[in-house]
Subunit: 437 residues, 2 copies
Amino acid sequence: MNPVELIIKKKTGKELTQNELEYFINSYINNEIPEYQMSALLMSIYFKSMKIEEIQTLTKVYIESGKQITFPKSYKTVDKHSTGGVGDKISIMLAPIVAACGGKIPMISGRGLGHTGGTLDKLESIPGFRTDINDKEFKEIVEKVGFSIISQSEELVPADRRIYALRDVTGTVESLPLITASIMSKKIAEGAQNLVIDLKIGSGAFIKDIKTGKKLADLLIKTGEKFGQKVSVVFSNMNSPLGEYIGNALEIKETIEYLQGKELPDIDILTKTLATEMLLLSETASTKLEAMEMIEDAIETGKALKYFKDFITAQGGSEKVCDDVSLLPQARYTIPIISQRSGWINSIDSQQIGYALIEIDAGRKTLDSKLNYASGAFLPKKIGDKITINEEIGKVFCDDKNLGKMVADKIANCYLVSNKKVQKQNMILKILNKFSD
Amino acid sequence: MNPVELIIKKKTGKELTQNELEYFINSYINNEIPEYQMSALLMSIYFKSMKIEEIQTLTKVYIESGKQITFPKSYKTVDKHSTGGVGDKISIMLAPIVAACGGKIPMISGRGLGHTGGTLDKLESIPGFRTDINDKEFKEIVEKVGFSIISQSEELVPADRRIYALRDVTGTVESLPLITASIMSKKIAEGAQNLVIDLKIGSGAFIKDIKTGKKLADLLIKTGEKFGQKVSVVFSNMNSPLGEYIGNALEIKETIEYLQGKELPDIDILTKTLATEMLLLSETASTKLEAMEMIEDAIETGKALKYFKDFITAQGGSEKVCDDVSLLPQARYTIPIISQRSGWINSIDSQQIGYALIEIDAGRKTLDSKLNYASGAFLPKKIGDKITINEEIGKVFCDDKNLGKMVADKIANCYLVSNKKVQKQNMILKILNKFSD
């Protein structure tokens, strides 16, 4: 086979066969096809897309590039994947809640890059916590605690890891076929038998409109089906940061407080919606009502917090942080964020808030950047809230006063107001799975 | 500047500025931007094209990546570029004819790759002939003999050389903006003040239809104009090989015979059309009629052949080949090509003929392949000619009998016939320049 001919085939809109995709991807992984040819193929896929059968084949080739983790069928394992948002700590409260209800969650997660934080980074702000856990231990923790959250090992879907890194530097990230194969290969290889996807829609998200979201959802559901994985897609609003805190240790603090019963309306509705879908898909609950009762119970009785503690202990962390959040890394300074306008908030630029917080090392500029776990912000104001000029609308936590002030000013600028009352936005936009219309 | 942002800018159909193109191309040449990012940009240009201003800027950046050759304005230098065809030896007869009429032709030419032969390879079949001539000597030969044909030095348009090689292996050759910048940068950097382009149209050519040809012609003319170069585009038919011979030494023999007065209708009309355009553009002739008379005279009086001899001598070759073509490399065997059908020829697959002849080393498989200058074929039959089954319709010249027979069979298969009379095709389809409608 000739790589140039395959590039031209895709470039002219033709379908690649299983043999052709296997040849191209495997030769790339074995360094027999150079990066410039893979990059040309990726850009051709971006422009010419792929048929669903091709996407399923690509996903298969990705999966078979490495090893796979399996769980007994009886586990009815279920995982959640989020397409990424600012302040998105939902996995960390969701997993113990679903586990407390009887679900089994094998979760392989990622680190933050760009304006969104990574679940692994947040967890690693807990003193002693480890995410580089081998398959055997991973399976044991899932069995014993009900869930485990670890980093992707070198052996799991290496094709996706290599190609994802190349997409990041060649402008080929926003391709629905490539996004689908990337998400689904990891979630199938990790052994999840059921999968709920939190598909963020909005200005701060990857997917800007619900029409594109529906197209992606359809590809995800059909690809899961091909591999015997049930998939449900929740479309959620990503027009403002989730919860009140952004920053690694601060989001762990917020998770603990939520599991202790603190009221956080946006987090609450999203967590419970996703948890309900997870319990239904994995047949842990048989009706929506039953699922919701199980979830309420897991939180109110402290059972979910208990599962969270066991999880922290199982992965080498100090569970004491759950009883005393001041044991988490603390920033030296607290800088107020002062509103520069009066009116009702009608938009919050989450992406710019995310980028601003990178300046104080709450997020990464490059893959090698060192994080400051204590850095971050408290941002309780939501779209529809009324704010007044010179009012304190939040705080920045940091170890450098001057940088912190600059960041506070930048964040203040991310709030745009209207002089008319603004409608509060719905968090959940739609839920799609193969049983939906 | 960030290369990924520039790739995304082009990918989303936006225009790149001069600064951006300079940064991207120059960083690539200096190995600061990797090949996989250049490849992603090239594929984005293939899909999203470029505005004429962008193409002009790209051409400028290409030219400025190396040094430029200049000639006095009074020379009114004129060159010809062909988009490539099987048996295309036209440059070799055209240059001495135009020079004999008083034109100055600084011609930097290429080698063959794929199914088309290269002018340099053909010339190098003349014993002693050199094409690796430095700029100083090049200018001297143009001044003294009126024309010189040499190979592209390392210093001339290095950006195009690097990017052309990458396009070849990434499926990004067929992009009108990239084709335009590649042709025009070389033809401007070599010092041609006027340029005639032989744009081949047809099944065997790069450009399959006249609509795409017109688009390309428009880009070539406008880009030339930007740099003060007058461009005229001749659309010629490329549905059968040019002349009767294909093969390096065989095409030199054919050139000599044509300059001695042999009748070769397709070569004659194309050569004279291109020569007329060159004389008009360079203001060596003021009317078409005058140009045609000058050309006829140059051939009939033997003046053009004399110029060809002087050129061979100036570049180290043996001019005796012009008086005795048997001094050119001769193949050991002559294998007849036997027609497998009866009827009127209605199509000849020139591309497949070109590929078949690569088997006996008349052309190159890879850049490193060694040529056999003596190998080739005699193919006198044209579209519209009547042939009969078992008739000898041509010959293969080679040093390996068995390979030669295989090639003869392959070539015989490239002639398709009709049982009705087939119309002869026009060689010249259209001429376009800024003065045309």
